[in-house]
Amino acid sequence: MGLRGLLGAAALAIGALTGTSAALAQDKPAQLKIGITTFMTGPASVFGVPGKAAAEQWIEDFNAAGGIQGVKIAPVYLDEGLGGDNLLSEYRRLVQEQGTKVMLSAISSGNCNIIAPVAEDLKVLNIMWDCSTEKVLEERRYKYVVRTQGNATTEMVATVMYLLKVKPDFKTIAVVNQDYAWGRDSWEIFRNTLMALKPDTKVVAEMFPKFGAPDYSTEISRLSALKPDVILSTAWGGDLDTFVRQASQRGLAKKSVLVLPLIESSLERLGSAVPDGVIGGMRGDHYFLHPEYRNDAKHKAFVAKFRAKTKTYPIYPVYHMVQALEALAQGYEKAIKANKGKWPTTEQVAETMRNMEFRGLTRPIRMRDDGQGLEDQMLGITKAVPGLPFPVLDKLTIIPATLTTAPVGQRSPEWVKTVKPELLTSPLIKTYGDTAPPAN
């Protein structure tokens, strides 16, 4: 049967295997299998684990209330901490082998970049529930990929606007971002916006330590010596915890204003280590002390139940997870209505989710035609308050997404250069006074 015979057999087999993909499923399935990728290991697990808890809690309540017209949601969780290539193999296995119809992925912008084209390939609806790199949806039109939260542009432009409102006369700025897609892209947009609105600002240092880099001491020494007026870091999770802890140990916040757009997710963990006067954000308007929604029934109930279960207040990945699941449920409901009551195909749901409005726990989100969600941004300044072991975000300001997001079809790095200073005085921006600590 030598080598030649083998090669002949192989050529024959090639024809048999290239069959077409699965036929269109019409009838209502027993359950809706969805895959959720989150960080269960590594520095980002401080993010991923609460996100998973939020999903479990929301799905449990949702299924109890009857699910999508009787169809319960069956989640499977994948660990983004295993690295891009392992995640990809598991992602494919879930879709190809276990017939998962919807994937909520991912947290890391790097993983979103990897997964989007594969989702399109596998024809599975992929909701980007927490990653924010704008490049994914701006570089290519996807049919099966949507994002139910804001992107880097929405957040960075809002952060620059808030910084210029609170500290209009600063001269020098330094940046210490994580060295991967999010760190690099967010700085590019922040810098272009800043140069458009305040061209005379001088960037004194640009540092990108390794993602998961455990020790910032050398970077902090350099920042202490340079004494820039403003220090920006879009780090998050374990990395942000280490940076803030070491910065406060060495009094960095006394000499420069820290701008930490993702600080809300670390406040409770860091507690008193967070100095006052830090400009902070929450990638959206996700704050359990949200001035407009702190007493909203749905929001209060969820926060109370989440706190009972996890002993911690919900942080913004929790809100983003709820938003993604709400969007999924409302997407299916609308698609079923449009499909005269019959169970919709993945394509129909993906289409319906493009131009719909839905509400998570705070302000409603409007989904655009390119699959990008418009999510208003809220920022504040940290202040220690009695009765709460960690600081609150004071002087809250909400900046609508319509002002800070690149229109459909435009590339953000170029669009942000056209941002005008008049934007700062837009009447749509709402500002609130002091934030009172929670009642209980």
Binding site: G42, S45, A205, F208, S217, T218, E219, S221, T242
Partner: protein, 301 residues
Amino acid sequence: MTVDLLLLALADGVSYAGLLFLVALGLTLIFGVMGIVNVAHGAFFAFGGYTAATFVVALSGPDTPAIVLLLALAAAAILVGLVMGTALEAGLLRRVQDKDPILQLLVTFAAFMIFEDLQRLIWGASPRSAAAVVDSLGTLELFDVTYTRYQILLVPAIAIVAYFSLRAFLRRTRIGKQIVAVTHSREVATALGINAKRIGWFTFVIGAMLGALGGALAAPVTSLVPGVGTDWIVLSFSVVATAGLGQITGALIAALIIGIARSIAVYTMPELEVVVPYLIMVGVLLVRPSGLFTVAQARRI
């Protein structure tokens, strides 16, 4: 790169070199006696760090004196060194002593994989830190930059103390001399009646303790996450290879070179910070294959 920036870079560099040296010292000591590069050395670092973090978190109250926390770090290092060192040496390496050195190296690689998962099973995946130690020691000003006493004074001091006490131990005590004898030639030492097995175990535990001490001292300044051991293995390799395997003084100098070069890179070319240790390692190995401080032995036929 003004002069005071250079001095700042030196301060950070020396502190980082302290950690690097302690971990590399354990690795090079074990190589000297056992003749193998212990790939599982990073696991000693990781377990040392995690144990230290657990002890410090358990002990640290609002007014716990610094000395108690420091003793907790030392206790963690000694405990981890003893338990893991013995488990690896007596449990595994003794069984493969006569096997091909490639297989001995791989046994330590297998042990590393086991410890990696064991660590996640015990401590989970969320980051741990022992920051309380740093807070308890306060800060000091250097060229009007605030440094923590822990990082600028304590870590380098412990590294220097470890260096001199180990050198004195090897030169003046009985067991120390036996270790040196076994390092030079296990056969001759055994022929002279030295219990090479006991010396091998003893040195391995000392090496493990040093690796664990590196981890324990790193816990207060970093957040420990799964995979921290993996980076430190390769970093300690870069120090040991640059110095020359088995060279203790060489390891101190190599750690200083790499630590300071890395710190200067943060000030001048931050992009290259991560690459610097390996660039130095490649540079040195290309010029002096057996490291800066080892004399190449001629082959005998």
